[in-house]
């Protein structure tokens, strides 16, 4: 037990050190990533002014102009938890070029290793990105109507943590489809496209009309960006909040099991050649 904990700790420490090498570039990059939000602020201001002039009110599906900007900023936090750059692509590449063998012959669990690696990445990211995030949120504080109450904030934190787990297990499962498909780039592109649109990264998904609004509630993507932000803004309350959290938890468990099953079946199917 102790030996195993020591192994995990070493993996985490090495990954942390590796991630801290380019911290300056990292901080600057994070700040630059907020630039598009400037355009969004002006775009939505114009959209709302267009609505007002036509007498259609000042709100879109219950979101005021300030709510929408606050929503955008909050989805950036959701995405900071749930996005897993190059996780699925990396797994698929390891399968294709045979590097995956290292997990099969060493006494290390691949998913556990990748999880710790990702955790280290995220911890460093939050440490370095905290200052740019704090700066932008301070500058944009006028768009928020204050902190949510204690229980709402706890629910928000739970939603965020689960979005990290969901993002990890979902992408890992997708990447491991590479055991059968070898080349998963096109599949990942489709996933990225759907994710961008249906996770709520571009707009609050309450805006989706009719059948699209129904479909988006049946798939897990909303928990990657929309749900935590909506919880923070108090758009999901009461029983809907509990149902939302339970559904998110169920999706996490589902993909946790799915990733294990896919890994088990995939390694049975896998043939590694060469040195």
């Amino acid at each position: 037990m102790y030996a195993r904990a020591a192994t995990w700790w070493t993996i985490l420490r090495i990954s942390l050190e590796e991630r801290l090498v380019y911290r300056g570039d990292f901080a600057l990059g994070t700040l630059m990533r907020f630039l598009p939000i400037v355009t969004q602020i002006f775009l939505w201001s114009a959209v709302i002014s267009g609505m007002e002039a036509a007498g259609s009110g000042r709100q879109i599906v219950g979101y005021s102009y300030h709510d929408i900007i606050a929503y955008y900023l909050l989805t950036m936090i959701s995405r900071a938890f749930s996005s897993m750059p190059s996780l699925a692509g990396g797994i698929a590449r390891d399968i294709r070029d045979g590097t995956i063998k290292k997990y099969l012959i060493q006494p290390i669990d691949m998913l556990g290793f990748l999880m710790l690696y990702r955790l280290a990445h995220k911890v460093v990211y939050y440490t370095v990105a905290a200052a740019p995030f704090a700066l932008v949120f301070y500058l944009c504080r006028g768009y928020f109507s204050g902190w949510p109450g204690g229980p709402t904030f706890l629910a928000y934190l739970a939603a965020l943590l689960m979005s990290f787990l969901l993002g990890f297990f979902l992408e890992a499962t997708l990447g491991m489809l590479g055991f059968w498909l070898l080349e998963v780039n096109s599949l990942l592109f489709v996933y990225m496209l759907l994710n961008f649109f249906f996770s709520g990264h571009m707009f609050p998904i309450d805006m989706l009309p009719g059948v699209w609004g129904t479909i988006v509630r049946q798939i897990p993507l909303e928990y990657l960006a929309y749900f935590p932000a909506a919880v923070f803004l108090g758009k999901v309350t009461g029983s809907a909040l509990w149902i939302g959290l339970a559904t998110e938890f169920a999706w996490v468990v589902f993909f946790m099991i799915a990733s294990r099953v896919v890994f088990h079946l995939g390694t049975r199917h896998y043939s590694g050649y060469g040195g």
């Binding site: 570039d25 630039l35 598009p36 002006f42 775009l43 267009g50 592109f189 649109f197 707009f203 805006m207």
Partner: protein
């Protein structure tokens, strides 16, 4: 001049042969770039379910705005097809010292490094732009007059020239900096401002922003001027209406001359590399 055109045609032909060698890859590239745009179109269609116009009194209603988008598609797809790959490659030429070979050829170096490789798959969005333009004009029952038919292509070319100048000037700085990844991020974030009609930038923050991106770094005139020429025909009676189109011509010449100067200066600082 005729020789240069002949060389350009050879580049175009070679690139097409190269693209057609990897046909599946070409098709995937084509689908990827057009589906990104389709997702954006879906987003704007959604916005227009809630508002009749982007900004009160700006005249950018749904189909007018779609004409703006089509203009952006023309300009961006041509810049991507002609220059993006080459500008991206320039830092690699500098880093590896391969730029020596370009310098030795009896042809203008800027011409050579700017147009060697043409990315035909980027033209998918040009076709999408044509479709969008035709559809929007049909919906508006609008047929452009002689002024528009002459001026629109001219200002689209001006837009391409301004974008090209910015891109090649940024790429040329890799001679001093050694790499240009962050600079390309910079290009992406700056051109992001030109994705929407300039009228959305107003108020105490928006007005200075609009002026900076119109007069100092003229990215706002790139799509706005041709789109305005098409959608809101300039009224020759009012001299003020001619100001922006007139300025766009000046900005184009100034950008081209400026980027030429930066490029020449960069070449003078080039010290080759490797053996």
């Amino acid at each position: 001049m005729a020789n240069y055109f002949h060389v350009f045609l050879t580049f175009a032909r070679n690139s097409l042969i190269r693209d057609m060698t990897f046909r599946a890859n070409f098709v995937i590239d084509l689908i990827s770039s057009t589906s990104w745009m389709a997702i954006n179109l879906a987003f704007y269609t959604l916005i227009f379910r809630y508002t009749p116009a982007i900004g009160a009194g700006t005249g950018w209603a749904k189909y007018q705005f779609f004409l703006f988008l089509a203009t952006g598609l023309f300009i961006n797809s041509l810049v991507q097809a002609l220059f993006m790959t080459n500008a991206d490659e320039l830092s690699e030429l500098v880093r590896t010292g391969t730029l020596d070979f370009a310098l030795l050829k009896p042809i203008d170096t800027q011409f050579l490094v700017s147009l060697t490789r043409i990315d035909w798959s980027a033209l998918g969005n040009f076709v999408l732009g044509l479709g969008l333009m035709g559809y929007s004009m049909y919906q508006l029952h609008y047929l452009p007059g002689l002024v528009q038919i002459v001026l629109y292509p001219l200002y689209v070319l001006c837009g391409i020239a301004i974008y090209y100048s910015l891109m090649i000037a940024l790429a040329a700085t890799s001679v001093w900096l050694g790499r240009n990844q962050t600079l390309f991020d910079f290009w992406f974030y700056i051109t992001n401002f030109s994705r929407y009609p300039m009228e959305i930038y107003r108020g105490p923050w928006g007005t200075p922003l609009r002026q900076v991106f119109t007069f100092c770094l003229p990215v706002l005139v790139v799509v706005n001027v041709p789109a305005q020429v098409l959608v809101r025909p300039v009224n020759p009676q009012l001299p003020a209406d001619w100001f922006l189109p007139g300025f766009a011509l000046f900005a184009t010449v100034a950008s081209l001359l400026g980027s030429r100067w930066v490029f020449q200066r960069a070449l003078r600082s080039y010290r080759s590399a490797s053996s």
